[in-house]
């Protein structure tokens, strides 16, 4: 009997070891459950802050700028290979981690905005503003995705060509793309709603009314809706809070050309991100892909075409400082200097851009607005040539103004990923080929291909047509 008791006691003692079910409840220590992470307005705003950080690092590190510049016509495309070669040749495929990873990251900003909007029940005193900022960020991410992954507004007459996926919930169900019209409508609807909700004077680094308006101006401009583009650009410019960068007055001071991408020296930034060492080191990909002064190689960095170099270095043009011809063993390349710094703030929308939007919109609208256009473009020219010698006449015609403002846009925005959008936009507007590489603005390759995961995750997904631009 003693034997049985010993055995039974031993076995029952052992069984007590597995009685503690809490032992199996071991979430990763540093990871929070949703209940522990987002439970009131403060935590919801922390989540919003994180979304801003990701917008800075995932959306505006410089990848999308680099892709767009490769696809534009200001670059010398020799020696690019791999993913870079695909972008340059406007012939992207379903693979390519450089763009596919970016696509996922950009969509995660949409996911986060959706999450914030779905948890507005937690917001109290700042509810409208939180919602407005989330809508702003969602619109911003969608607009950037639209510009790269879809053909432009106007590429088809009825704008029924496909745009992007409009996912308004944090769901994982399969979705196909909406039309370009639906896509733009969604972006504008978010921004119009946001405009009514965000603050006049936002906290630093956050979106307020100026930022929403500036983005609205850009969105309307991209769809060639000049009345609205003019309206919103004008409202922001007229606040007077943003001033074109100027040369420092001291002889050794900074030139204006070194200020747009500088650490706290620019007065133009309407929306963007401040560089904070060890905290938010924005612009990494811009440094990695554009710097002329450190580690330049013709196969891995931006190098302007000789045509662009000649356009940008006309006699007296202070913007020639943006070019740094590099000659090695008789081979000359034209890298640019805009990002030749270890640290700089990352403007997303700046005054020069907005003035050029207002100028072109005003010119398109014509009439009394033409004077505004001329004034704006002359502001740009006066700064560029350090005087009024190259200004256009106040009597310039609409076409003369348009030609000049588009030329100045190209010179001002070199290396900022803008040219591709102008090729697509102006081509859609005029029906003419703008591209110096002679590709139609609505050729399929002007939109990059979606990741294969879109199709393999949802068999009804419609991919882009590839290539066809060369």
């Amino acid at each position: 009997m003693k034997k049985y008791l010993i055995i039974a006691t031993a076995i029952f003692s052992m069984s007590s070891m597995v009685a503690c079910s809490k032992f199996l409840e071991r979430p990763v220590e540093d990871a929070l459950t949703e209940e522990d992470a987002i439970y009131d307005e403060a935590t919801l705003k922390s989540f919003l802050n994180g979304t801003y950080v990701n917008t800075a690092t995932d959306l505006y590190s410089g990848n999308q700028t680099w892709i767009a510049d490769l696809m534009g016509d200001e670059i010398n495309g020799n020696l690019y290979s791999g993913d870079d070669g695909e972008f340059y040749n406007r012939k992207t495929s379903i693979f390519g981690a450089y763009k596919n990873d970016r696509y996922t990251a950009m969509n995660q900003i949409v996911y986060r905005a959706n999450k914030i909007i779905s948890r507005l029940d937690l917001a109290t005193s700042d509810k409208d503003n939180v919602e407005g900022e989330a809508q702003f960020l969602r619109a911003l991410a969608r607009f950037e995705i639209l510009k790269l992954w879809a053909l432009n507004w106007g590429a088809t007459a009825d704008n029924n060509h496909l745009g992007i996926v409009l996912r308004n919930e944090t769901s994982i169900n399969g979705l196909n793309r909406s039309t370009i019209k639906e896509s733009y409508d969604a972006v504008i609807a978010d921004l119009v709603s946001a405009l009514a909700k965000v603050k006049d004077t936002p906290a630093a680094g956050h979106a307020g009314k100026d930022q929403v308006k500036a983005l609205l101006a850009k969105v309307y401009f991209q769809k060639n809706d000049f009345a609205n583009a003019f309206k919103y650009a004008d409202e922001v410019i007229k606040t007077g809070k943003y001033i074109l960068d100027k040369d420092d007055t001291t002889p050794t001071g900074l030139k204006w050309t070194a200020k747009r991408y500088s650490e706290g020296k620019s007065t133009e930034m309407i929306f963007g991100f401040k560089y904070v060492l060890s905290v938010l080191e924005v612009g990494g990909e811009l440094r990695g892909r554009y710097r002329s002064d450190v580690g330049f190689s013709p196969q891995g960095r931006f190098k302007a075409s000789s045509v662009m170099y000649n356009l940008g270095t006309q006699t007296g043009d202070t913007r020639a400082a943006w070019y740094a011809p590099t000659q090695t063993d008789g081979v000359t390349y034209y890298p640019i200097t805009k990002y030749d710094k270890d640290r700089f703030d990352r403007p997303v929308i700046h005054l020069t851009d907005l003035k050029l939007i207002r100028a072109e919109s005003a010119a398109e609208l014509g009439g009394a607005n033409l004077a505004v256009a001329i004034a704006d473009v002359n502001d740009i020219l006066t700064r560029a040539f350090a005087g009024t010698s190259r200004n256009i006449a106040t009597s310039a015609t609409k076409n003369e103004v348009l030609t000049q403002v588009r030329a100045q846009r190209e010179l001002e925005m070199i290396g900022e990923g803008d040219r591709l959008q102008q090729i697509k936009r102006i081509g859609a507007l005029t029906g003419q080929t703008v591209d110096r590489r002679n590709a139609p603005s609505n050729c399929p390759g002007m939109a990059i291909q979606f990741p294969q995961g879109e199709k393999s995750g949802y068999s009804s997904f419609t991919m882009n047509e590839e290539g066809g631009c060369n």
């Binding site: 076995i11 990763v28 791999g82 995660q108 399969g174 979705l175 938010l280 190689s297 008789g330 393999s456």
Partner: protein, 1025 residues
Amino acid sequence: MKIKNKILLYMLPMLLLAVNSLIAQTVSSVTGKVTDAKNGNPIEGVSVTVKGTTTGTSTDVSGNYNIKISSNNAVLVFSFVGYSDQEVPANKPSIDIKLSSSEVTGLNDVVVIGYGTQRKKDVTGSIAKVTGEQITTIAAPSFEASLQGKAPGVQVTQGSGLAGSGSVIRIRGIGSISAAGDPLYVIDGIPIYQDNFQQGNSGGMNLNPLAAINPNDIESIEILKDAGATGIYGSRGANGVILVTTKRGKVGKLSVNYNNKLGAVTYANRPDFLSNREYLAIRQEAYTNDGHSGYPDLNGGISWSKAMNTNTNWWALLTRVGMINEHSLGVNFGNKLVRSYIGAVYSDNESYLQNNSYTRAGLRANLDFNFSPKFKVLLNGAYNRGINKRVPAAWAGGLGDAMSTALPYYPVYNDDGTYFTGGSNPVRRLNETKWRNYDDRVLAGLTLEYKPIKNFTIRAQGSLDYFNTMDYQYESAEWLQRTDVPGIAKANPYWGTNWQANVTAQYDFNVTENSRMSVMVGTEAQESVVKGYNSDIYAYTDKQFYENKSLYKDSLAWFKTQPPNKSNFKEIEKDNWTFNSIFARINYNIASKYIFQLQARYDGSSKFGPNNKHGFFPSASAAWVISEEKFLKNSDLINLLKFRASYGIVGNANIPSGEYYYKYYTGSTNYQGEPTLYPSNIGNPDLKWETLKNFDLALEFGLFKNRITGEVAYYNKNTIDQLLNAGIQPNTGFGTMWRNLNGGKILNEGVELSLNLKVIDKKDFSWTVGGNISKNYNEVKSIGDLDADALGGGTNDTRIIVGYPVGTNFVSRYYGVDPVDGLPIWYDAQGKLTKTFSLDNRVPVGKVIPDYVGGVNTALRYKQFELSALFTYVIGGNLYDGSAKRQAGIITDWNIRRDLLDRWQNPGDDAKFPRTTLQTGTYPGLSSEWQYNSTMFLYDASFMRLRELTLRYNIPSGCLKRVGLRNASIFVTGMNLLTFTKYIGGDPEIARDFENAQDRNMSPNVTYLTPPQQKSVMGGINITF
């Protein structure tokens, strides 16, 4: 918990019934001592029974026994694992016994199984055993690599030639997709930390947590293959279990064993690249083919004339003859109270890559205390430090650059003496950056064994696996191209504690006169926690952190004390999981002829969602020892014939922790001084283990007085509910989430044969030949509604496709070159020829899983000389050369392998590769050279290599005694001396760096600038005194 209680309720009555048979009467006793016939050492634990009765006892620590007998006609049976049974008439009061080691069949060998041991002949599951001696013959980068070719059904693919490189081990195929398909490693009872991806694939290599384990400490490795063997590990047994048992002390006088190995290392196979002028000629040819005249632009901003006069042999600059320097010491001592094994090792194994080596230092103490016949304490502790002097490789640079982007006309230095920076310069990186991994690991365990009553043993075991890995990197100011700092030292440590405790109770009893039952029940808990920091610790300095530990401490302290608005640096938990289990095993042995075994485990794990927290994993197995039947008992032809069968359900739980809930992290950086929050996944409360249904049949045999022995086995494994971390649209913002694949099914079916032949067996001359061959058929039966591109192996163009094996090469089919214009001709998806390349034409065309794997070994002994060899081989399957697409046809910024030069140059040429071009647009439809994957670069993966060749001379004992030695030998060993392969682009044995477990499951045999395997020759001595 209900199931657990039921098990206990069912088992208790069985135990109670069984012990009724233990009643016996005795009239007199026999005493004596049992010793080892070879060395005279007493043997503890020898089973002494009266034949035909249930009366029995076992020897104590001094080998003594005392048994009651009821008749002078009684026969005593002495049996002990590893020794042949002996039967002796009990016709005198004192009988001493000398037991001899078992014969070549090893049937009395002890085999380690989960939570216990069994005699080999009683084993009902599929277990392959490899001894410690067998894994220390070569200087493999890590102990598991030495298993190659030594066990049937076990495919070992060594990673690369990098120091400390790990291996991919597959036991009877692969059924997992996103969960790791590696076996569970259990060292002295504790499932150890074995995550290869804690640092991703940084530097072109996955970390190998096994590298720090000292091979010289290992007594044996048991590889558990079927559910009959792995079933006791329940939710973690699906991919097999590798049980590592370390050496323990034996009774006897103090003995000291010292052995060393000194040698040299180079590469086994190497690719050959073009010189500067050869490369430039090809580039010029491509330029001309594209319709241009003059000279094309060159990468690196170098003029044509300068390029013509610069010829850098990057391979030569980055490689060397590495040196092997290894010393190990083993001290053994044992008496009545204590037995001890003390082991120490120091080894410094350089690879053939400059600045790359793995240094291992370790100390182990295994102590067994026999406090009384009823109470025993086993203590084991080991500390190992591995220092991996790392260099980047493959895609990350270093030798990978030498094989790709470091063009032969690039100089190391500019004319002014500064480094060339216009393109890849791996010498600059070699000189201006430093990288070391310090891997400290403690494995310790305490086992208490108590026998409160006869044949009833309670064992309580606790083990600790502590590891601390420090990743040190240094970049000079020159490398950073900065003048404001002297350089930067960075550190990224992580550390973890993995503990396990189990208690088992085992009761052995006779059910009838000739049948015996063993019942074991147990419970176990395990917790593993890995911690680290959320970002690097760094300081701008001119010294590496490992040369300036105080600076590291100061820097760490500085980071820890920064206010949140400057830095959110903090300690974080990288992984954390628990298991809590009960398990049981019932083994019923009838006359050593019919053996039945039931196992079950009920596992709970923190890895799984609240809706599937626990799983039940039963298995059953049986063996019929036919040779024990009367009709074969005295056969001269057949000495052993044993039939084995098993069926069971086991699982795979090897996924990251915390994936079942939505996880959020507070940010390491603030935004405008305000806190930040980030999501990291999409949660899934239904997440559970994947399930394997495993069926196994086997026949073991011994013929002609056991001069021919072997085993034939068949298995059929079906994996369902695969764990998946893929297949959702990236527009969700994630693209992945962990879930079980609904409707998924993967089959692994195979046959294994192992054969050992004693050709000559004389006193001074013996010759044995052995080998094994395994055939595995792998087929994906279903992947639900996912398509071919949903489940990919990283960037390796391998897929999981219904009707094909896991890791199917999914690329376009290349027909050949159009002799008229030199353009490539493809097959479209329907098999028609086309000159337009399209990714839509990709089809399943190859497989990374070979048809057959195995090894052939032979050993020749003549007097004091021994010559042994091991050939390993792979038959079938495909090797995909993932980097060749950048080296053939489209000339970019990569150098070109000489074997890819067979190209079209003129109309009418019959060439293997198309005409060269600098423009991807030359080949219609191709978007870039990255997408140029096709059968053009798919090769037969078959190879055979002379894995080991050893010549040993055992110094005669007469000579040794004069200098006080017991044993001594000298040897010379070669590793990978010969390789026979159809692949001419480099080494055919490849397990490149992987992005994640899914890639690792699907993409061995895909090379991408992978450093070739090592080839080494070394000599050494082995002495015991």
